[in-house]
């Protein structure tokens, strides 16, 4: 058995534990608790139930828990639509990101060795600039009188401006653009670390470059594809900034719904219930992502 840990060791382990429990785990329990309260015109704007300060008596108040916020979610078709549309937009965006990122990551991984660090830096650099600003940049491009339409009209490719801005398509473009580095990086890693002799062996055994790509490179990059897709899909579902700035008034995404419930309607129990259901939806993909990450770190 291991010897007892020293004070310093216990501090090193205890500090992050305490931090995560206080600022990550407990807040979620509070979200769950408030999702079970009733909205009220008060400050804070909900009727507190199940207060831990009450000690054991709190248990007797279990009956007062209210499912009204969840009933509201179930009653209003709009919520279900927002969840579904979030899933749909996140799914489509993930596929588009993959389609765009794979050729880029592949070309990066096959570039001369001395160029690769520069290419990786170039691919990741946009991630270091403000997310908000990058989304904002697309407003000027996509608007009806924006740069894209100007360019296309000038080229004579279209006669009428395209209405991309304030639509689901703009949201997809925004997500693809913003999350591209998250997809490129795991793909690049998965392709670059494949031993080059594997492709030579495939060629030696009669596989044309195309056949070798589909039968060796692609299957071996699947862990990267999975990690990249999850890294885009999960946060995209709850995305707020992109649908808010690029989407139309009819673009339903659940992150935006939560925001509106909280800030505009001041319905904290509803916002909390939206969050709880969203989290429940994401639990599967998140567990999958964590498992792939831990397998990666372990290997």
């Amino acid at each position: 058995m291991k010897a007892r840990r020293s004070l310093a060791e216990r501090l090193v382990l205890g500090a992050p534990w305490a931090w995560l429990i206080v600022f990550f785990l407990i807040p979620f329990l509070i979200v769950v608790k408030i999702s079970l309260s009733e909205a009220a015109l008060a400050q804070p704007p909900y009727k507190p139930v199940f207060d831990l300060g009450d000690g054991w008596e709190a248990l007797s108040k279990l009956g007062e828990l209210s499912l009204s916020a969840y009933a509201g979610l179930a009653d209003d078709w709009l919520y279900a639509q927002a969840y579904l549309s979030s899933l749909r937009l996140a799914f489509v965006s993930t596929l588009c990101t993959l389609a765009l990122a794979y050729p880029l990551a592949y070309a990066m991984a096959r570039a001369p060795l001395r160029l690769r660090p520069i290419l990786v830096t170039l691919a990741v650099a946009p991630f270091w600039t403000s997310f908000l600003i990058r989304v904002y940049a697309w407003i000027t491009i996509l608007r009806d009188e924006g740069l894209l339409n100007h360019a296309l009209l000038w080229l004579g490719l279209i006669a009428e401006p395209l209405h991309i801005f304030a639509s689901d398509a703009a949201v997809v473009i925004g997500i693809v653009y913003s999350y591209l580095p998250f997809m490129v990086l795991p793909l690049y890693n998965a392709i670059a670390r494949q031993p080059p002799e594997l492709l030579e062996a495939a060629a030696d055994l009669g596989a044309s470059p195309t056949a070798a790509f589909w039968r060796v490179t692609v299957p071996l990059s699947m862990p990267g594809v999975l990690a990249g897709c999850l890294l885009v899909f999960i946060p995209a579902i709850g995305e707020f900034v992109i649908p808010d700035l690029l989407g139309g008034s009819d673009t339903l995404m659940i992150g935006r719904t939560l925001w509106v419930e909280f800030f505009d309607n001041r319905d904290w129990p509803a916002a909390s219930a939206v969050a709880v259901v969203l989290l429940a939806l994401l639990l599967g993909p998140m567990a999958l992502y964590e498992r792939s990450q831990m397998a990666e770190a372990g290997s």
Partner: protein, 262 residues
């Protein structure tokens, strides 16, 4: 050379144009004399001048810098501890829960993280302001720091630490004098990452800030909602220039370091 290499060059050109064209356009139009964002009215720096007169914007930029500095510091200390625990403490009790909590915020939708932290502060009756944003950003940042530093620590040869202990260093000393110096670049990168995450964040800050602690992204967001103005292009350009400078410096530093080692 071959057909394949042409296709790959094309993929690189296309991919990087997609990544950089919007940013380039943003920068170019920040020097536009015209108020209309999409019509070029000649070169001008008037929007930069008007930035200097915008006290609110400057105040929120200052707020963002302070928040980022503090939260990244906290995140680096706690995150590095977490990385050490993950790498060096073997299978301690609750390791799976611990590492799940480290990885979860990396993909967790920001609206959930923001909402849950706000509700915590309300439940604890803590007035929202500078420190609540710092704590919220540090929570997100520490997970990124932990992952970055952990990735570096697992690649370090364990026998270096063992050699130090063999030569009479206590485990703590070996960690401080051998492992941490070797992991220093990743710790620095972790700090930079946490700093950028904080400077960038709109959603979590919107939930956890109070009156008087408006951050720069919050200010920009409220202006964007009112309509696109070249002034936002100007502040964006300044932010991009700042990040570019740091990146180039970091890259140059890394290159010279590698050259010295070679």
């Amino acid at each position: 050379m071959s057909k394949g290499s042409h296709t790959r060059t094309l993929a690189l050109l296309f991919g990087f144009s997609f990544l950089y064209a919007p940013i380039a356009l943003l920068v170019i139009y920040s020097f536009n004399a015209s108020r209309l964002v999409t019509v070029w009215g000649g070169f001008s720096t008037r929007w930069y001048v008007s930035l200097l007169e915008n006290d609110q914007l400057i105040a929120s930029a200052w707020m963002s810098l302070r928040v980022a500095f503090m939260s990244a510091l906290l995140a680096t200390v706690v995150g590095t501890c977490a990385a050490i625990a993950l790498t060096r403490f073997g299978r301690f009790r609750g390791r799976l829960v611990f590492s799940s909590m480290i990885y979860a915020p990396l993909v967790m939708p920001e609206v959930i993280t923001g909402l849950s932290l706000l509700l915590l502060f309300v439940a604890l009756d803590i007035p929202r302001g500078f420190w609540t944003v710092v704590v919220a950003h540090a929570t997100l940042g520490m997970c990124f720091v932990a992952v970055v530093v952990h990735a570096r620590l697992v690649t370090l040869d364990r026998s270096l630490e063992e050699a130090a202990m063999d030569l009479g260093a206590t485990p703590g000393r070996a960690l401080m004098s051998v492992t941490l110096p070797l992991a220093a670049p990743s710790i620095l990168a972790g700090y930079g990452l946490a700093f950028i995450l904080s400077i960038d964040d709109l959603v979590i800050a919107s939930f956890t800030s109070g009156p008087g602690s408006t951050t720069l992204p919050m200010r920009i967001y409220s202006q964007v909602r009112l309509g696109v103005t070249p002034e936002i292009n100007a502040i964006s350009t300044l932010l991009i220039a700042g990040v570019a400078l740091v990146l180039v410096l970091g890259l140059a530093l890394g290159l010279t370091e590698r050259r010295q080692r070679a």
